[in-house]
Symmetry: C2
Subunit: 698 residues, 2 copies
Amino acid sequence: MKKSVFLGAALMAFAAGAAQDAKWIWYPGDYALWRGNELQARRIEHGGGYPTFWASYNFHPSVQFRKRLSLAKPEVVELAVEGTLRFTGRDDLPGVTSNKYVFPAGDYQVVASVFCGAKPPALYLNGPTVKTDGSWEADWRMGGSACQPHVPAPAAECEDRFAAASARPADYRLPTRPEKAVSVSREGNRLFADFGRETFGFVKLLGANKPGRVRVVYGESEPEARELDPEKVDSWEFADVPAAGDFRMPVSRGFRYVHVLPETEGLSFRDVAMDFEWLPLERTGSFRCDNERLNKIWDVAAWTLGLTLREIPVEGAKRDRWTWSGDACQSYLMNYYLYGDRQLVKDAIWYLRGGDPVVMHVNQIMDYTFYWFTSIRDYWLFTGDAAFVKQAWTRMTSLMDFAISRLDRCGRPHADRGDWMFIDWAPEPLHNYGGVTSFEQMLFVRALEAMAELGKVAGAPEKLLGMYRVRAQKLKLEVVPLFWSAEKGALMHLLKDDGTLDPQLTRYPNMFGLAWGYFDDAQRASVLKNVIFNDKVMKIQTPYMRFYELESLCTLGRQTDVMKAMLEYWGGMLDEGATSFWELYNTDEKGLDKYAMYGRPYGKSLCHAWGASPIYLLGRYYLGVEPVKPGFAEYEVKPCLGGLKWMEGDVPTPSGPVHVRVDEKGVRVTGNGGVGKLVWKGRTVAVPPHSTAALGDE
Amino acid sequence: MKKSVFLGAALMAFAAGAAQDAKWIWYPGDYALWRGNELQARRIEHGGGYPTFWASYNFHPSVQFRKRLSLAKPEVVELAVEGTLRFTGRDDLPGVTSNKYVFPAGDYQVVASVFCGAKPPALYLNGPTVKTDGSWEADWRMGGSACQPHVPAPAAECEDRFAAASARPADYRLPTRPEKAVSVSREGNRLFADFGRETFGFVKLLGANKPGRVRVVYGESEPEARELDPEKVDSWEFADVPAAGDFRMPVSRGFRYVHVLPETEGLSFRDVAMDFEWLPLERTGSFRCDNERLNKIWDVAAWTLGLTLREIPVEGAKRDRWTWSGDACQSYLMNYYLYGDRQLVKDAIWYLRGGDPVVMHVNQIMDYTFYWFTSIRDYWLFTGDAAFVKQAWTRMTSLMDFAISRLDRCGRPHADRGDWMFIDWAPEPLHNYGGVTSFEQMLFVRALEAMAELGKVAGAPEKLLGMYRVRAQKLKLEVVPLFWSAEKGALMHLLKDDGTLDPQLTRYPNMFGLAWGYFDDAQRASVLKNVIFNDKVMKIQTPYMRFYELESLCTLGRQTDVMKAMLEYWGGMLDEGATSFWELYNTDEKGLDKYAMYGRPYGKSLCHAWGASPIYLLGRYYLGVEPVKPGFAEYEVKPCLGGLKWMEGDVPTPSGPVHVRVDEKGVRVTGNGGVGKLVWKGRTVAVPPHSTAALGDE
């Protein structure tokens, strides 16, 4: 039952009712906060560490776990704890003096108080009937008071991968396996290794002839790794090799090339290798078609996503190894079409949210706060995991309180000087603090709508949810009247504080407007003509915003246009030699220019999670599988070849993958636990649970 | 200059301007929170751990330290850090790759971002001019935003004891020295040791004949340590001795007697000893007089206080090893008359307050919240340390916001079901949730007054302070009209929710009313007759409330009565064999009864911080030394022999001790840095800085 680490965690998490084992439990979010903090701190730049610049929150050092016990006779349980533990709930509960504990017979609520200072308090109890799992309550405040009760303590958090007393959550490490470089060349005592494609792991320096200091330069491109000027290249570090022999770098890094530069006179190495490190998820999503270039795009996208999913998702394998909400939100959606894993999404959501009090936007970015809310709505739709929504609800409301406190007097999101309004990396500035943007307004509407919807799941008071709905409706109705330019036939970017529209025209609000139904038919046609298919409007250079641009076209049934764009854009990166997809791709940049960003010659990340969106687009808008009710209880399959001759693939759902095979003559779908509906050329057929349905040209 | 650990810290802390050395800095309060949490977790009961039952807060894992640098030339600094460090503030600051760092020349603000997951982030920089100390700013939220700025980042916190790169704050341990038992007896393979008096440290089991498990029982009384039933005695633990030879218990404990009970067949030891562990403060306070019984009381009180001052103050040496606000508030006052140390007070104040959001009263006790505020006012008066008041101000306001949120609709403190209203341990219940008590109302007035006064020091808006003052005045004016019983001639304890006075009459509100000027002359006389000197009113059994009872009499000039009470009450404990003062002393209890409390035969703490109040009473109301302006800038010496023939002693002040010698003929005072005023038999004379003044019978 217990596979090592969490191989197959995705499947196990999706297998309803399978979790009868005892598990480690902790206060919801605490483990993700702690692990997420540790992970962010592994970033390096110019040889040194690089802590995040947003507020970080810590785990609760003292936690109470509660459960009502009903024991006909005394029960002996196996016990393991991170920290100091005491049971209360009745007077005769003895102190904890070993890894066995005897609960007396009777009907009583037991409270396990756990303190731990250096890592999150966690508890594991495994007896015949007494087992720690998500049915225990977790609290850090002893239940509140009578006149100011707090929201009922959420269920304790647990994961299937920690289903043994010995598997302490804080000791968890990603698995590794040894790998060799494709080529290693030597120049004097320097070694230069190429691992053949973008990868991730611990570099190993083999056969040192003596102790000494070495500088290790990591490169995603060859010129980057060959660059000797430490000012020009970001990702390098010193290592002090303590003795002759083999040495493994202490921290895993993302790279394709490694340059080993001994600093100590006479120090040399025999070889360079690595321990590849990965998040062991099972790919239950797949895609194949007649276009080999597209297949290659899908493969490289999947590899890109895999490299950026670490202990929690980060945005780039090499740089910056941080977890960003806007980026992560896309990683989650790709994950739903590749692995269908829940834990990685939950952990990133916890980490990004942090704790209370809220003192800044998520990642300090206003839009990233709004994406945080919509990512939970996506999570709910794709997983149906109501327990998480309930656990996270108090942190959702306190973040929304913060967001509302930052609105201007018209109730519109208006970035403040200390806030960062990101939107996208673009050649012209998108961030103007002297007004409100249509883009942020539309995002905030989505965030409010998510709160109104999720609040029902969490059991929040209708009055509160009504307030969210009213705000959302008011803002949503305003957008077109406020931002529409009759002259440009499109939504404008910025409404200035003086009440006039700034002349800047961007794709962002217009593509969101298309996807989210802001326009009537005439407006839609105008936007497509004047913005989307207008080459004079600034092109989007990041896969990040191309994700939404292409998605908006797909929602309009423009899959053939999107196919062309995908082959050109992601195919273009392949032509440039990409083995993983990039942070930004400007087809005009050639030579070394394509590696530059942020004013640094090798500043660009060449393995960026948001580069992997074809996984999502192909799964959702070509294979056409999407949930209709939370957790795929009901789902729709509406395939669209978009110019392909045939395609075939799988989309993960909580009850197992949905398989789709389409060619020009017809489509066949094999469903799993949920109730499917297959839509093809205007016809519809049901896909009952665990069965196959087909539609074709008669 | 650097003595080991913090020997002499009291003097150094009091020596203005002496701090030119670089010091470790951290976010204010973080180190005390972390250390305080760890300390609380060392409590044991019935062999097992015992985490606190109040909400615990964690340190900030990511902190920014800021300082404006102005360097004529590049500067090399010695660097040490707890965690991951990066400097920002200009583009050309390199990564941190060793324990030396070069700051470029120029005028710029440097930001040191430090992340640490397992202990508080801390930084040490020591260059010719760039040195970390309290002049750096500390922040965890990147400075807030323009429309919602937060209170300016407080100065980073530092302590003189950490004035070297090697002295990492988290590695700090109290010093120890080996001590032998006074007697060790043997019964079979059991050993029973008596260390002669209450003590504190690591028990050492010497000369084990083989590995094995042993049970160690700690006793403050001989019968407690001899008790073999593990249910009847609280303080014992198992130890697994790994090998033949000597073994030191891993955690230091409070005890006088130790019973060593091998569990493993055939296991035996040669001897029992200990490593005494103490907080190395210098006693700059002293007291001697013609009454040897009183001298003994002072000595035992000083020993008691010393044993309960650990890494931060706790309330009892053996039990419960926790830090309680009401108790700590008294420890601070005693400390001002024995050591004059600032750090122990600040650390306890930080720990007790915790972080934000506030979810319960301090220690979950309403009165303990109110004492927390008044303890900072005391601290300000005795030390003049404005920097701390500024650092703590935001946590003062958020706790006061919480306290105000719990008021009833008349604005009176009304305990809620989840709150604990403690007041005192007493034979009849004092805690009634069906009304408001005069006692809590008066305490809350003091808390509000403290806020109004300290807010000025912190530079808070006058409007806010005015609100505190108005609330305080309203409540204060209400007390006598609301709670006075004409029939009883005293303040009653409880005003019930139905608007009637409960018939319960207690000493508590009446003694506070005397000390804090609530009564006119007729009321005062009535209270003295009907309550204070009325043996029918329930006697106070704890030294805790005797502290305030006797203090109130001292403020009325009743030192002769108080002397009699001290000799009888604390002398009574000495007659019972006390080597440290107790949690509770009921002169009626004899034999084993005197060790019982909480329904447990040895539940009473026999070394309790609040037992040590004679130190405070003798220093403040007999030697008569007290600060008039913060930090003893001005002070008064108003000696009162209270029936003694002569007395002599020292009272610490920030600029050194004030020495007082009094007999029936006159008084001589040697002052230190501040401006003193000697008052004796209606006459007054100035004590200029660093000089001696005298008054006597001509």
